[in-house]
Amino acid sequence: MKIGKMFKWYWQNTYWGLIGFYGAMLALMLLGFTIIVFSGGGDVTMNGFSCSSEVMLLVMGIIFFSAGTRFGLSNGVSRKTVFCGMALFMLTFSAGTAVINVLGEWTGRAMGLGTVGIAEIIYPWIDNFVGRLGIVLSRVIGGWAMGLLGYFIGGAYYRMNKIWKIIVSITVPALLVFGLPLLVVAAPSSVTTAVGKFFPSTIDWLAQSPYNLTLLWLGGAILCGIFSWLLIRRAPVKIAG
Amino acid sequence: MRFNFESDTPIYMQVAEQIEDAVLSGAFGEETQIPSTTEISVTYKINPATVLKGMALLAEAEILYKKRGVGMFVSKGAAGTILKQRKEAFYKGYIVRLLEEAQKLHISQQEIVKMIEEGKADA
C-alpha cells in the first residue's frame, strides 16, 4: 500500500521540525518554570503548547502540497494516494500533538503551574471524562482542520501562475484589512443585524459542549479537504527554477 | 575490434565482420569461446540485440556455434570457411570493380600488374 509509504515519507519530512518545535517549547516551558519558581509562583498562566501546534500544522500543510505532489507523482504514486496519505498523516500528527499538549498542560496544572489551554478557557466547568475527551477531540480535529487549511493554501499557490500569485498576495490581505470593515459599514442594516445575531448564537452553541466545537472544526476540515482535493486532482508536477 | 559507425554497412554486419577478422587473425582460436554479447555490447556501446543479430549471422554460416549455458564458440574450420568467403568477396568487391575503374581511366592490364607490383614493394 502506497498510502503507508507516503505516510512514512511525510513523517520523515516532519520529525526534524517536530523535534525542533517541541525542543523550543520545552525550553520555553522550563524558562517559564524557572521564572515561576523564582517569582514565588502564583498566578502565571501558560498556554504555549495549545496554539503553536496548530500553527505548525498549518505550515506543514502549506509545505506538503508542493513537496508531496512533486515527490509522490515522480515516484509512481497517484494524486489520490498522495492526498489520502497527507490527510491521514495530518490527522495522526494532530492527534499525537493534541495528546502531548493536553498531557503537558494537565501535568503543568497538577504541578501548580496554572497552565491552561484555550478549551479550558471556553469550558472551565468540564471535569468529567466525557468532557475531557471532547476537549482532546476538538483539539485533534481542530489541528487537522488547520493542517488541511494550510494544504489548501499551499495548493492554491501551487496551481496559480506567477501573475495570479502576485494578485492574490496583494488583494487577499488588502480585502481582509480594508474590505471587511468597509463591508460592515456599507452593508444594509438588515444584514448587519442578522450577522450580529448569528455570531453570538454560534458562540453560545459552541460554548455548550466541546463536541460542538469538534463538529465545527470537522466541517472546516471537510471543506478544506474537498477544495484541496479539487486542487490536486489534476495537478501536474511543477518545479521552479 | 573497430566499428565505423558512419559507414553504410549496418552495425550488426560490422559486428559479424569484426568477429570474422578476429577468427582469421587467430585472436579467437577455433574451438574457443568468444566474448559474450554483453561484453561486446558494453565495450562498444552497441545495443545487445544488434550484437546478437551479428552473432546469429555467423551461427547461421556455421562459423560460430552455441554451447548451451556456456556461450558462443568458434567452429572447427571456421577460419578456412571465412577465408573462402572473403576471397570470393575480394574478387567481386575489388577485382571486378578495379577492372571497371581501370577501364574508365584507360589503364591497361599490363599497367595494372605493374601497379600491383609497385604497391607490393611499398606495402
Binding site: 502506497k2 509509504k5 512514512k8 515519507w9 519530512n13 513537496a67 512533486r70 515527490f71 507523482l73 515522480s74 515516484n75 509512481g76 504514486v77 497517484s78 494524486r79 489520490k80 494516494t81 489534476r234 501536474p236 508536477v237 518545479i239 527554477g241 | 566499428f3 559507425f5 558512419e6 559507414s7 553504410d8 549496418p10 552495425i11 550488426y12 554479447t37 554483453t38 555490447s41 558494453v42 565495450t43 562498444y44 556501446k45 552497441i46 545495443n47 545487445p48 540485440a49 544488434t50 574508365k104
Partner: protein, 282 residues
C-alpha cells in the same frame, strides 16, 4: 498480458499551445527507445503524461493493459528520471536512494552504492549542494538501480563530462543485458545513443514524425554530392530533405535508397543525427 505502454489519442494543451497533438504510440517490452525531438517538440510532455505527472487534455495511457493514469500499481512499474530534482531541499543522496527503495521495492541498494563509488559520488551530500553533473549522476544511479520495468531517461547526460557519459552508457547496456527492461532515452546527444537504441521515435511539433527500428532509420536517406547541375538532374522527382551548395559543388540529402546513381556523383550515408537534423529542420 500486453507488456507495453500504449498511448492513444494523447493531446496536451497549455493554454493556446498544443504540446501533444493526437499522439498514438506504443513502447514494447524490453527494448531501448530513443525519443528524439527539438526543444519544445513534446518529448518531456509525452513522458510526463505516461508517467502520470501530467494529465492529458485528451486521450489515455495504458500500462501492461491497465489504465495508466492515477494507478499506483501501474505507475510503480515506471521509473522516471527527470531533468530536475523532485526531492525536498534537505534531501541527501543516501536519502534519495532510501526513498527510491521505499517506492520501488526491487531497488538494488548494493548496486546503487557500488555505482556511487564508481562515479565518485558522495552519498552523504545533499542533492542541493551537488553540481549539475553530480545531481544528474545521483538521479541516474537511482534510475539504473530502480529495476523498474520501464525506465525513462529525460536528458540523462546533462552536465556530465565525456568520461562519465561513457561510463553511463556502458553501465546502461550492462544493466540492460543482465536485467532487461524497457528504456526510453530522450536526449539531444543523438550520436552518442545512435547504436544503443533499437527503435527511434522522432517527435515534431507534438506529433510523431517517425517510429522505426534504428537499423532501418539509417537506411532511410542518403546524401548525394557532386557538380550542381548533375546533382540537380539526379534529384529531380526525388524527395529532398535539404541541400547545401559550395560554389559549383552541391550536396543534397534525399529520402529513400540510392538507385542508378551516375558514377560521377558521390553517395554517402545519412547517419541518425544528420537525418534527424534534416527531418526536423524548419
Amino acid at each position: 498480458m500486453h507488456n507495453s505502454i500504449e498511448a492513444k489519442g494523447l493531446t496536451v494543451q497549455f493554454g493556446t499551445v498544443t504540446a501533444l497533438d493526437q499522439v498514438d504510440i506504443s513502447f514494447g517490452e524490453n527494448r531501448i527507445y530513443g525519443l528524439l525531438g527539438r526543444n519544445g517538440a513534446g518529448k518531456s510532455t509525452l513522458l510526463n503524461v505516461m508517467g502520470n505527472r501530467l494529465y492529458p487534455t485528451q486521450g489515455s495511457v495504458s500500462i501492461d493493459g491497465e489504465p495508466g493514469a492515477e494507478n499506483d500499481k501501474a505507475q510503480g512499474k515506471i521509473y522516471y528520471m527527470g531533468e530536475k530534482n523532485v526531492c525536498p531541499d534537505g534531501t541527501t543522496v543516501r536519502q534519495l536512494f532510501r526513498w527510491s527503495r521505499d517506492f520501488y521495492p526491487a531497488f538494488d541498494m548494493e548496486y546503487a552504492n557500488q555505482l556511487a563509488a564508481q562515479f565518485g559520488l558522495n552519498t552523504k551530500k545533499k542533492l542541493k549542494g551537488l553540481s549539475t553533473g553530480y545531481l544528474t549522476i545521483a538521479k541516474l544511479i537511482a534510475a539504473l538501480a530502480s529495476n523498474a520495468s520501464y525506465v525513462f531517461f529525460d536528458e540523462p547526460v546533462l552536465g556530465l563530462d565525456a568520461n562519465h557519459r561513457e561510463m553511463f552508457y556502458r553501465e546502461l547496456i550492462h544493466r540492460y543485458s543482465e536485467r532487461p527492461s524497457t528504456i526510453i532515452i530522450s536526449t539531444h546527444l543523438i550520436e552518442e545513443i545512435a547504436d544503443i537504441v533499437e527503435q527511434v521515435v522522432i517527435i515534431k511539433e507534438g506529433k510523431i514524425l517517425l517510429d522505426r527500428p534504428a537499423e532501418e532509420v539509417k537506411r532511410m536517406g542518403y546524401m548525394v554530392s557532386g557538380k550542381a547541375s548533375e546533382v540537380d538532374a539526379f534529384c529531380a522527382g526525388k524527395q529532398i530533405l535539404g541541400e547545401d551548395q559550395l560554389g559549383g559543388l552541391k550536396s543534397v540529402c534525399l529520402l529513400g535508397e540510392p538507385e542508378n546513381v551516375p558514377a560521377t556523383l558521390e553517395i554517402a550515408a545519412l547517419d541518425l543525427q544528420k537525418l534527424f537534423v534534416q527531418l526536423t529542420n524548419a
